[in-house]
Symmetry: C2
Subunit: 210 residues, 2 copies
DNA sequence: TCTGATTTTTGACTATTGTCAAAAGTTTAG
DNA sequence: CTAAACTTTTGACAATAGTCAAAAATCAGA
């Protein structure tokens, strides 16, 4: 079953060679943009990061289960959602070059309260919490890298919080069109509406009057 | 309460840094709850943390200016707000034992987009960004402490984001009553309404029907 | 303690958004 | 290429929240 789905995934990306180690370079390049790390740390990292390939619609993380890995997205798109009164609420999206996990679960070790589902086939690089902790123990510079990454993600979330909470649906949609057109292009309207906190009908009307 | 009484006395001597080193113990105790640190690191920290005392209504941070310090709140309460169409939008509160700063400005070095104002007189402990960076360079364990603190604050913000965005005003108010009654008790209704993203009148009505 | 200032509540009305249902448009798989 | 499945748009109406104005309650300083 896994083989078939991997194959299905390849069909849509015939020029992506899946198991060549040089692909991890993209992750390492991305890390370098956050903080420069030495040969030794980067080699140690390579040894404990594993590639994961998942097909469209697959669940990466499921509510109620503990999430023990942090993922880097090489390619693909996904969404985080949870259930409220039986309805799915999509609260964030992930794309290429994003680090993703069910953060609450990953950090606390408690069962995840959210689901993460692929919206496209994806190439991910995974590191376990144990390995990451070990890496940070061993290399101060990796602890720093993670600290700096947290700062970036915190600022992003803070901005998201303010926009979500204190702007109208129309403003939020325009913001999205300007700052994150890739979301508009690649994500079904229903998910975007949920993400913006309005009904799909309202979003459709907002959009129709530009 | 003892602290408040003592503090009422200080209110008449704002900006006078009282040299009471034993009070810093509260900060160090709080740090210990996040991550245990050694004598050397904790002594180095002591040397670069300064007490700041501010009276009610004073601005700790003003929009447009770069925020170069991180503060620990020994006592008092404050709010972060910004202007939207000439109106103040209060988006967070700080209380005893909280770490506060204009995070975006502190991290990026860009001018602050928010204001932070005391709602009560406060005792704060300040560390400059330069000192903090130096401390983290010197002590891996302090870098870890900060990394762990970020994790906590990220999770808090994530929860705040989901509540703010996907729950009704009534639900958010009840949540506040349950999870943060100190906010209800110590903060004027107008600020709470702004924080919850509803008009003061609506909040008053929500509250009147329990 | 009293008075003026501030904060909170209430009322009437308006604007915005949600819901349900159906039509139109788009994708996907055989 | 076509039919079925899914996504997006439109319409009618209901529910929710916002605005403005004024009254009531509370607080703070003289």
């Amino acid at each position: 079953m896994l083989l078939l789905t991997i194959f299905g995934f390849w069909l849509h990306r015939p020029n992506v060679a899946v198991s060549t180690p040089d692909l991890m370079e993209r992750l390492l390049t991305q890390l370098t943009k956050i903080h420069q790390i030495g040969e030794k740390a980067s080699n140690d990292l390579r040894a404990c990061i594993k590639q994961t390939i998942l097909p469209k619609n697959e669940m990466l993380i499921t509510e109620g289960r503990v999430c023990r890995h942090l993922y880097f997205m090489e390619a693909g798109s996904l969404r985080g959602f949870y259930y409220q009164d039986g309805k799915e609420i999509t609260h964030w999206f992930g794309f290429e070059n994003d680090f993703v996990t069910s953060f609450y679960s990953f950090i606390t070790g408690q069962p995840s309260v959210e689901n993460i589902q692929l919206m496209d086939g994806a190439i991910l690089w995974a590191i376990s919490k144990e390995s990451l902790t070990e890496m940070m123990d061993k290399h101060h510079e990796l602890e720093r890298l993670v600290r700096l990454a947290y700062e970036r993600y915190y600022i992003r979330l803070e901005e998201r919080y303010v926009n979500a909470h204190f702007k109208t649906a129309a403003e939020r949609y325009e913001q999205l069109v300007e700052h994150a057109p890739h979301i508009i292009e690649r994500v079904p309207l229903g998910y975007i509406a949920s993400y913006l906190g309005v009904s799909q009908e309202t979003l459709s009307r907002v959009r129709s009057r530009f």
